[in-house]
Subunit: 718 residues, 2 copies
């Protein structure tokens, strides 16, 4: 009974979310598209984004099909279902990213037009609606995908399919394929998009702002369109894919752990399916929350955005408590879901403290950094890096506290200390991500406004419209900072849950010679060696991405300098620069640079398990989480702080030096250097680590039966 109830609630709320997204999409499309020049600029961006996505999806297609065939072969009994789930997971993730990109590239000119004709509020409406298409779409697709696939496989597959794994655990093993597909695509989207966007941004800033002193988004800059394309492929599609894959992974981890409880304890409802129900409630709250964001005439839209988030959160809390009590379950489960949500908001809040001018109480890192910028570029880099390191502290503590509390509460549920405790840690992750529809809506709005601003600048539309966009951008800042921290918190709790799910999965394996991991003894050198290797993965991956951006930007910098040099008409505004060349460089570089890192991560994970065994593989995952969290937070927050340091120096509130004077230019150039260093930190390497951690955790869980058998074969060699 409750099985069908949970599945149908999940499916229906997912479908509702998708349909509402499509409905809002139609509304957005009806807005005015603006002047011809705006349409022209926007279509350049649209074309650029499409050409990038076409190249990327072609590569992804080849990758997915190859891997699917491999999966079908190595898994034998479950091979075909897992391979199909994997392909569907990849396709769903690609579809979500694509839809977000289409909306964003079509909404930018409409937002620009609204800003020109109506000002602040109409522009806000268009941009936020467009963002919510992305937000509701990813929340909906995750639910529809997971519930329908579970239902389908449960009906189709006969019991005889499940040989090495019991049926319920086996069904979730199959769905791990779906999650794995979502994550690998997300990693490509995030890392590839991140390399693209930062190559363009860095190069445009260096040659444009520093060398030729032309303003941001100036149409004379050959990299201007590539920069705008980057905002879409990196910030919209990339972030969407990142949150989407964390969400799927959190639900999956909780389901695997729930299946373990179901197997041994038969709780009052199927604990494996309960996470779908909780996610469904969060999605319903998001759908309602999106409609609560209605800017009032004459009011700043910023608080409206936050209001939407607060209402969604509150609504979710009420819904989850009510439903858990109606189902006759222990209220602890509702509490931990809410604890997860609070942890996410807390981490977002601390990110904001370290990256915004406001700071907290007397502690104002960014203001200090503005002072450092007055000394030298080295001082600015050092203080940003040091504050980035410091910012790791509250977030990691927040995650540790949320984990320990959830575990302690869950340990008392009566399903065994570990089983109950760790299930509740996973539920906290599901709770954190439940409102991802709303969170993503407020986040995607930012890059759309950014793009609109660029279009207005390039279409040489009235200055007031640019001011309106800057205001919109600023009022979205808190929401953006919260999303950054939220994404990191979400993925880390999900990864901790996946870590537990991996251990649970070893326990349900039925392979002679392989026993479950009751304990992972870090005091044993092979586990410690595994942990050391795991800690290297985020580090090396970051290095590859940053070097990728750096190498790529060298090529683009050469190209921009060449265009300026060879055609002086570009700077005078008499001839059009060759935008396509820059887009081409960014695209080919991004695709070339992201493949080795991704493959490396998957291969090293499997190799560690095969050579050192399952205990060491668990150590590997643990080590990766520890170093990954540090790297992601350090780079995300340091990058954000450098970005805002530059923004403060560019803003009218900055009064140390008068704008345009020699001193102002010195400090501004230094702040641009900081921002350029921070760009690949915060938008390429940092956020990709979230997804990377999910990918390696899922690799370990999905390939577990294969790894276990290969390890037996490997140690048999000696």
């Amino acid at each position: 009974m409750s099985e069908i109830l949970f599945l149908s609630t999940g499916l229906l709320s997912g479908l509702l979310s998708v349909f509402v997204a499509l409905y809002i999409y139609r509304i957005v499309m009806k807005s005015d598209e603006g002047s011809d020049r705006m349409k022209e600029v926007s279509s350049l961006i649209e074309k650029g984004a499409n050409s990038f996505i076409k190249v990327q999806y072609r590569i992804l297609g080849i990758f997915t099909i190859t891997l699917a065939v491999l999966i079908a072969l190595v898994f034998r009994d479950l091979g075909i279902p897992i391979a199909i789930s994997y392909i569907l997971g990849s396709l769903a993730s690609m579809a979500a990213g694509y839809i977000g990109l289409v909306v964003a590239t079509k909404a930018n000119r409409r937002t620009a037009a609204a800003a020109v004709s109506g000002g602040l509020n109409p522009a806000f409406k268009v941009a936020f609606r467009a963002g919510s298409v992305m937000g509701l779409m990813i929340a909906g697709i995750a639910l529809v995908g997971l519930t329908s696939l579970y239902w389908l496989w449960n009906i189709i597959l006969p019991d005889s399919t499940f040989i090495v794994i019991p049926r319920e655990a086996g069904l979730w093993e199959i769905l791990t394929g779906f999650s794995f597909g979502a994550s690998t695509v997300a990693l490509f989207a995030k890392a590839g998009g991140g390399i693209f966007t930062k190559t363009a941004d860095l190069s445009a800033d260096l040659v444009g702002k520093i060398e030729y002193r032309i303003p941001e988004d100036d149409p004379r800059n050959p990299a201007a369109i590539a920069d705008a394309v980057g905002d879409n492929v990196g910030d919209v599609a990339g972030t969407g894919a990142d949150i989407y894959d964390s969400n799927v992974a959190a639900i999956l981890a909780a389901a695997i752990l729930g299946a373990g409880i179901d197997l041994h304890f038969s709780p009052p409802v199927p604990f494996a399916l309960l996470p779908l129900m909780i996610a469904a409630l969060g999605t319903l709250a998001s759908v309602l929350g999106v409609f609560m964001v209605r800017p009032k005439e004459g009011h700043d839209p910023g608080p409206m955005l936050n209001r939407g988030t607060y209402i969604t959160t509150l609504l979710f809390a009420i819904l989850v408590v009510t439903i858990i009590l109606i189902l006759g379950l222990n209220y602890v489960i509702a509490i931990v879901a809410i604890i997860g949500l609070i942890a996410g908001v807390f981490i977002g809040f601390t990110s904001d403290v370290f990256t915004s001018e406001r700071g907290f109480a007397g502690f104002k890192p960014v203001s200090k950094m503005v002072d450092s910028a007055d000394k030298s570029a080295a001082n600015l880099i050092l203080s940003g890096y040091a504050y980035g390191l410091l910012s790791v502290l509250p977030s990691v503590l927040g995650i540790a506290v949320a984990m320990v509390i959830s575990y302690t509460l869950g340990a008392g549920l009566g399903f065994g200390e570990w089983e109950g405790g760790i299930y509740c840690v996973a539920i906290a992750a599901v709770g954190l991500l439940s409102t991802n529809g709303m969170i993503m809506s407020s986040d995607a709005y930012g890059p759309i406004v950014d793009n609109a601003r660029g279009i207005i600048e390039q279409a040489q539309a009235p200055k007031e419209a640019i001011v309106a966009c800057d205001k919109l951008d600023a009022s979205g800042n808190t929401a953006k900072a919260i999303t950054k921290g939220f994404a990191i918190g979400a993925s880390s709790l999900s990864v901790l849950a996946l870590f537990a799910a991996f251990i649970e999965a070893t326990d349900t394996l039925n392979i002679p010679g392989i026993s479950g991991l009751v304990v992972v003894n870090i005091a044993h050198p092979s586990v410690l060696a595994g942990a050391l290797m795991g800690s290297l993965v985020p580090v090396v991956f970051s290095a590859i991405l940053i070097l990728g951006v750096e190498r790529n930007s060298e090529r683009m910098i050469e190209e921009i300098r060449r265009q300026f040099r060879e055609d002086p008409g570009i700077l005078e505004g008499t001839s059009t620069p060759d935008y396509d060349k820059c887009i081409e460089i960014a695209t080919s570089g991004a695709i070339r640079e992201l493949m080795p890192g991704t493959l490396l991560a998957i291969i090293v994970t499997i190799a560690t398990g095969v050579i050192l065994g399952l205990q060491a593989l668990a150590g590997f995952l643990g080590g990766a989480v520890l170093s990954g969290l540090i790297m992601a937070l350090l780079m995300g927050n340091a990058g954000g702080a450098w970005d805002n340091t530059k923004k403060i120096i560019e803003s009218p509130e900055y009064t140390t030096y008068e704008e345009g004077t020699e001193d102002w230019h010195r400090v501004h150039d230094i702040s641009v250097t900081g921002d350029m260093v921070g760009d690949p930190f915060k938008d390429t390497a940092g956020p990709s680590i979230n997804t990377l951690l999910v990918v390696i955790s899922l690799t370990a869980t999905l390939f577990l039966p294969v790894i276990a058998q290969l390890h037996l074969w490997f140690i048999g060699l000696f």
Copy 2:
């Protein structure tokens, strides 16, 4: 029998090393002191160094006495012996640092004089001899301290003193106090010296090189003397203390693990004392090796330096194999000691690849960074950071492989898999550090030459002498790079051994309600929470140190600019700058900034154990090692690479732009920015992490009985 043999060998070779050091000191003192101007500059440096060390040792004295009283009180039975050992450990460490500093500050003018009068080889002789005083002194003091204290306590203390711990384990618990004293002093020396030296370096470079374009070490720069003082207090005294404390800790960890084996298996010789024997052999080899470094007329002294290291290494290998076979022990023990040494050299070699122009095969990171410097400061920072991240890979792999091999070999010794395995990991650490006398001799030589160069520049002596110093400096580069990696490898293997020693120590505890840690289950959230907290320690500590340098340098930059502004005669060379003011700023800042971090590390370690328990405390240590290794290698190597990028651009081999042209200045300024960012990375935060890890590991081991009892009291509260 072999007990007395081991102890007396340790004691005698330690004494030999100390006496040889004193003998060489007398020889160095007999060299010519140079012109009056040289003596004058040198005495300014000497005075500055002494005033810093006086302030630092006063603070350290207060700290040590307070902590000793606390220790005497909380430990009851063993309180007095531990407190006394702790005080002696601190004093020994201070003495070692002080002697190194005295020699270095007296040898710099003598090296300068030799360079002026005799050129390359005589200058090399003076500098290397002075360095070897430091090297042999720290190796000797470690042996004398540990052996004599063990002997003494073994005679003095009645059996009735050992209540909660068996006698042999108890004796080593007492000696943990000695090691703890050595490490806390080392942390102050390294971190305090590091803040001092980089405050001066960064400020002198920024105002001198970039703003006023005067050369390095120019006497017109008010920070010139502070900069030279910094080389002595940071690079000589600091590095010496760092290697010294790793050495003591490695021997101690192996002894604790050996005591565990002795207790349960009665092996053919006392395994607890064997590490002293191995260290003694390494020290003997170092004494001989130092005398093998004799530069030939007309030959580059660089290869000589390496020859000394090779001979020492080979000699040690022969000695250890011979003695182990004579003692009738399994040859495996000799092999793992040599494996440790090889791991150290390998890590040193990879550091060299990432930080020197040479690179390895076609892989030349520093050359790439020179290209990046041509693009922009941001490109240079990004590529240096990314290569720094990448450099973590081979070193950590090297450590993991050395650990797994040593463990596997030791597991077959017949003393239980874990006991034998982990003992051999500790022996590998002892082996790595055994030749520290020679390694340190080649390292201390570098800063002495650096100082001599500064003195020559400031005494306006002939240009040829500066060229000779630059050559000497360059030929010491390989040795220096090897020492950097060696120090990190040494401390990480030592810390891994200490980690095991901590777990072993929990097993010998005899407190009702506390059981030994057979396993440390990272899959349990409290252990994972401990690991997360541990991983924060190196991160936050680095942040504190870098912010300390940054804050401090802001004050000094202001001061230098003020002096130039208020007295134009300084730049014209007609009036002398106020050097003391800069030394004062560096001193007071260093002392102020280093205290909070050190106390924090000790307190957080104890608090984690008390609140979350011993398992979580083990997780804490594990987490700290993982993140500490990454941070130390990243910062050390990135900093070294930026430093060398600048050196290449300043060298005659750099041919992209002609020196002095606008383009050259642009690229050079960028490279100086990179170097300035790298300075606190490689000389303050990075190397301090080594010592930090040792301090927290020793804190956990030393305070274990107290922590265990407080934890019982704490959980009793609920």
